[in-house]
Symmetry: C2
Subunit: 334 residues, 2 copies
C-alpha cells in the first residue's frame, strides 16, 4: 500500500470487483436504469409487515444474489462491510444476521457503499482478507418516516428534495480475478459549509464531493480527462449543478464526463422526484447494476466513483444544526 | 498480515497504541474508576443546550486531548475511525467535523471502539496509514431519550437494565512507538439467540462475546490463561455471569482473569445502576483510562479486549424483533 499526497492510498496488490448485485423497488423499476438491475420489486413491502423488515429482506436477498453470482461459497468470504440509513443501521444487521461472516458495521450515510469498498480494498490488498463482501441499502418509505414525515400525512415535498432510492447494492471484492480493479481510494474529510436545509441535501453534500474530487486529482496528479466517467453518489440535479460550478471555480472542468446517480436513477420529466434520487442504494444499485457492467464489457475503462453522504439526523436538524457532508472516492480500472 | 483460522488476523508490522484519552460524566466521576480518567464533568450538559450537543463536545474534547497528549500534530494523523450510539452517529460527525482528517464512520453499537481499532490496526500494519485516530462516545441522557423513554417521565428501570456511560474514549494508533502493541484482531460475527428484552442487553450480547472469545482461542491456539486479563465491553453483572457460564459450558474457564467494563465502571452497592454500565464509552473510557495505563506501567502485559454491541434500535424492538449481538476482539501486549 502506498500513500499518495494527503489522503489517497494506491492499492498495490490488485483488488478485483469480482461480482455485484442489485435489487430495486417499484419506482426505480420504472426509471431509465431499470433494465440493469438483477431484480425489480412490485411493491415496497415485498411480503413483509413493515418497511424496515422489507429493507432488511432487500439487502439480504441482494447479498444472497451476489454470493450466488460470484460462485464463491459464503464460507470463503472473510469479512462483510455493510451499513445503511436506518437508525443504528438495522437494515444491515437484521438483514445479514444469518450470514455467519465476520461483520464490520459502517456508517457514511449515502457514502456507505464507497466507504465499505475503501475498507474492503485495504483488507484485501494487505492480505488481511481474500474475499470481502460490501453491501448497503435504503428504502424510500422507511427513510421518509425516519428523517422527515410519516408518509400517511401526504406532505408536499419542496422542489429541492430528493427521492430516497428503495433498493440494495452489493459487491464482492477479491484478491483473485481479472478486474475491474480498484486502483486508488481517496477517503474524504467531513465538510460542513453551513447548509441547514434538510430538504436540500445536494447543496449540503456538493462541497464534500468537490473537496474529495480535487484532493484525488492533486494526490494522483490526474485531471478530470483521465477518467471515462466521474460519478457522484446522490447529489441530484441541484447538487450536480453546484458541484460542476464549484469544481470549475477551482480550475477543474468536469462538465463533459461527470454524472450523478441521483440524476440517472429517475426520469426527470415523468417520475416527479424533484431533484432526483438519493439514499445509500442510489449509488449502490447504479454502480452494481450499470457501471460495473460497463466496466466488465469494456465500454468504460477508467471511472472515478465518489459517493456522497449527509451526516445528520432528524434531531440535529430540529436543534438547528447544519449538515456535515462527506465523500469517499474509488478509482476503478479494467 | 497473516490470517489465522477462521476470523483472526495476526498484525505483523507492529501497531502501537501511542496514546489514549478519556472524559466522563458526573456519575462516572463518582465511581471506582474515576481517578483514571483525564477529565471528569460536573454535569451532563457541559455548557451546551442539548444532550446531543454535549455528547458531541465530549468526543471533540477527548479527541483534542489525545492528540495533544500524543505530541503528534493532527496533520500527521492520516485517518479517523469513529462512531457512536446516536442515530446516524451524529455525536462523532458533529463533534469531529472540524478535525480536517479523512473520516471513516463506524457503527458497531457498543463494540464501536474495538471495531475502530481493528480497522485502524489493518490500515497501519499494511502501510495504508502511519497514524490513525479511533474514537467513540455515549451519553446516558441522549441514549435514554433515544432508545427508551424521555428522562422527564421518571420511568422505573428493571433490575436487568444497564446505565449508559456518559463519556468518550479515544486512542491514537501508530506505526511508530514501543507498544503496547495490537498483535491480533478477531472481528466478530452477528449472533442472535432470540433475546427480545431491550432492558437486558447483557443477555443479548453474551453469546456474541463467547463466540468471538472461543473463535479467538481456536484461531490462535491460545487458552484463557495466556492473558493477564480478558475484558468485555458492557455485558454488566447479568451478562458477565452468563458469559462465564456459557464459556465454561464450552470448555473455557475464564472465571479467574475475566472482568467486564460495565461491572467495573460503577459501584454496585451505592450507585444504583442495576446491572452496571453500558454504552460505547463504557469500554472506550475504561480501556483508555485504566487498562492502557496498566499496560504502559507493565502491571499487565497481555490482555484480550472484547467489546460487545447490541445491533438493534427502538423501532426494531417495537416491531417484535430480537436483538442481534456482535463482539470484536483485540489482543494487546507490551
Amino acid at each position: 500500500m502506498e500513500r499518495l499526497g494527503k489522503q489517497t492510498i494506491k492499492i498495490d496488490n490488485p483488488v478485483t470487483i469480482l461480482e455485484t448485485a442489485s435489487i430495486v423497488g417499484p419506482k426505480e423499476s420504472e426509471g431509465p436504469m431499470a433494465k440493469y438491475f438483477d431484480q425489480r420489486l412490485d411493491d415496497e413491502f415485498w411480503g413483509e409487515k413493515t418497511w424496515e423488515k422489507a429493507e432488511s429482506k432487500i439487502i439480504k436477498e441482494t447479498v444472497n444474489t451476489v454470493v450466488s453470482k460470484s460462485g464463491i461459497p459464503s464460507s470463503e468470504i472473510d469479512y462483510c462491510f455493510a451499513g445503511d440509513l436506518l437508525n443504528q443501521c438495522i437494515s444491515s444487521s437484521f438483514g445479514l444476521r444469518e450470514l455467519n461472516i465476520p461483520f464490520f458495521g459502517v456508517f457514511g450515510a449515502c457514502s456507505t457503499f464507497a466507504e465499505s469498498m475503501c475498507l474492503g480494498s485495504v483488507f484485501i490488498s494487505s492480505g488481511a482478507a481474500k474475499n470481502v463482501l460490501c453491501a448497503t441499502s435504503s428504502h424510500f418509505c422507511s427513510a421518509e418516516k425516519q428523517f422527515r414525515f410519516p408518509l400517511e400525512l401526504g406532505n408536499q415535498r419542496p422542489p429541492s428534495s430528493q427521492w430516497t432510492v428503495t433498493g440494495s447494492g452489493a459487491a464482492i471484492l477479491s484478491a483473485s480475478g481479472d478486474g475491474p480493479y480498484i486502483t486508488h481510494i481517496t477517503p474524504g474529510k467531513i465538510t460542513d459549509m453551513g447548509i441547514k436545509d434538510a430538504n436540500n441535501m445536494g447543496a449540503a453534500m456538493a462541497p464534500a464531493f468537490v473537496d474529495t474530487l480535487i484532493t484525488h486529482f492533486k494526490d494522483t496528479g490526474r485531471s478530470p480527462s483521465y477518467y471515462d466517467a466521474i460519478i457522484s453518489g446522490d447529489l441530484g440535479h441541484i447538487g450536480k449543478d453546484i458541484a460542476i460550478d464549484l469544481a470549475l471555480s477551482k480550475g477543474y472542468n468536469i462538465k463533459n464526463n461527470y454524472n450523478d446517480c441521483g440524476v440517472l436513477m429517475f426520469d426527470k420529466e415523468t417520475q416527479d422526484t424533484h431533484s432526483g434520487g438519493s439514499g445509500c442504494a442510489c449509488l449502490g444499485t447504479i454502480f452494481s447494476g450499470y457501471f460495473f457492467k460497463q466496466l466488465k464489457d469494456k465500454q468504460m475503462k477508467k471511472i472515478l466513483v465518489i459517493a456522497t453522504g449527509a451526516l445528520m439526523n432528524a434531531t440535529s436538524s430540529q436543534q438547528g444544526e447544519s449538515i456535515p457532508g462527506i465523500a469517499h472516492a474509488l478509482a476503478i480500472e479494467v
